[in-house]
Symmetry: C2
Subunit: 329 residues, 2 copies
């Protein structure tokens, strides 16, 4: 049986950071204060006390219950990466982990990506709109501590700007044990690699992944990181490149890159991958700033900036690994 326990009326879906870039981004950062998701009516009774039920429209989501409030032996807790979004991008292990889970918890867009056989087999699905990931993750952990086998899902990989860390942090804050819940991370294909695949072979050498969202990281730190890597031979995967509330971050990023890299450096843009409005473009660094206000660069976009050896061959980006320095071909 599959149910959607979301308290719709509490959901603020205004400006959020990302959804399913390249079908693979798992970032779920909120730009604005989000009224967190409502608690599930079918949740374990023991998860009362504030979990998943913050209704305050500010940045604070209160976490309530601790491990002391639960009498059952805990279940298992697994974070599962769905990869590029569509079922064909999921690993067999991810599918098996979801089939084993009694409860599946996730952002609604990702729940909607699950094959019917999985949602139908689950005892319960707890999904919420974008934002509210702290209360949603706490709900998942309370359900685990109450004795249920729980899977937390996200697109991409559960490590890449995703919820594996938050799950461990909240588990620890409740006095729970990662060993006791048999905590497991099931990796998935990250957005950088999904988008890289669509662009050809842009990420074949050393690579940096940077998020331009300053919701959880100060912009000064983001700028410092970009300054540090822009002059080196890294390709750069940019997550969360643009949103209405922080359009200047994108412009600042472009400025920093242009200070260090050739204006003709190839740049690949993948917008809304695995979505109806999917679009892939290859441009250059000089042109990138003017695309900030266009539809192709938004919160569903991942951008890949080539290094000084990256070139374009028939609408594909190629970053040589270096074989050409040693071999004739």
């Amino acid at each position: 049986m599959s149910t959607d326990n979301t308290a719709e009326t509490e959901a603020s879906t205004t400006e959020t950071d990302s959804s399913s870039k390249c079908g693979g981004a798992t970032t779920e950062e909120t730009e604005s204060a989000c009224g967190a998701s409502g608690s599930s009516s079918s949740s374990s009774a023991s998860s009362s006390g504030g979990c998943g039920a913050s209704t305050d429209a500010d940045d604070e989501e209160e976490v309530g219950s601790t491990v002391e409030d639960f009498e059952a032996d805990p279940g298992s807790l697994t974070t599962v990466g769905l990869g590029p979004g569509r079922p064909e991008g999921m690993t067999a292990r991810a599918k098996a982990a979801l089939a084993e889970a009694e409860h599946i918890v996730g952002y609604r867009t990702y729940v909607d990506l699950l094959p019917d056989e999985i949602t139908e087999a689950a005892e319960d699905i707890y999904s919420t709109p974008m934002c509210g990931e702290v209360s949603r993750t706490e709900e998942a952990i309370d359900r685990t501590l109450a004795g249920n086998d729980v899977a937390i899902i996200g697109s991409g990989d559960p490590n890449v700007y995703a919820l594996s860390g938050l799950a461990l942090e909240i588990l620890e804050s409740k006095g729970g044990s990662a060993d006791a819940v048999d905590f497991e991370v099931v990796p998935g294909v990250p957005a950088a690699q999904s988008c890289g695949a669509r662009l050809g072979a842009p990420l074949v050498n050393d690579t940096v992944s940077v998020s331009l969202s300053d919701h959880l990281t100060p912009m000064a730190e983001i700028e410092s990181r970009l300054e540090a890597v822009a002059g080196e031979g890294f390709t750069i995967a940019i997550y969360n490149p643009w949103s209405r509330k922080r359009r200047e971050n994108f412009q600042r990023c472009c400025e920093i890159l242009l200070e260090h890299r050739d204006p003709e450096t190839p740049v690949g843009i993948v917008h809304g991958a695995s979505r109806d409005d999917e679009e892939t473009t290859i441009t250059d660094l000089e042109t990138l700033p003017e695309l900030g206000e266009t539809d192709i660069v938004d919160m569903t976009t991942t951008i890949i900036v080539g290094n000084d050896e990256t070139y374009v061959f028939e609408d594909r980006m190629v970053t040589p690994r270096g074989y050409e320095t040693k071999y004739d071909y």
Copy 2:
């Protein structure tokens, strides 16, 4: 029918860079001059002229035939990432792409990882030992140009230190067209994410991937990249950390990291993942140098260095995303 066309006698498998780290690395760089793999007796007749058949034991692998030598309409060319190595880590799309391929080309260790149903369904398998990836990739492209649908396989993701770039480079050098061969990259879970999953949640924020192999990248550039990122808030995934022929690279890397990061910074080490000798350890930066000469750090190892916020919770590495700065839990 499945055949192994390797000219065993030509294979030098002495010191090579990596095999299946975290079951997910696809780097196949050679430290030494490798006698390349022999050409396939069942290969398309048109792929004569040096392809896949270099017997010179030096760094040069001659590439012979061009698109002019082929009369057939080309087949399709797909690079497929197997992910963490075992079939359960493969995506459904990867499995389907291999089922569609007439010829499968890859390093023998990866071919051995394929499910029997795939190898048995393929018309031909062309596998070689470690090294010889230039001639092997050319063999794949010659087979494509001769009209066969070909898949080039590797563990991890085909972009991450892998052969997608080389495939496009060789295709271009032969006068071939990526559009004409319907070139496609099927992404897989990279080693960094596979290993990150085993370690918990170390890669939740901005991350750098660096290979310590100086076979195809000068060590001065690798050092410069490490210097640039060591003082910033990146977690660092280190591929190809150690081999007998370049043990000093690992020590130099540790020195650079220790100049910029706290000696107590958590470091995760995953050795030989998905192999019989798999081992996962969490240590700290101060201890890392002395592990260079131990069995846990070798060419099958991936190392993940935390940032200044990474901590250890019950043998798991946790890199906070930053939620703790905005939320109470």
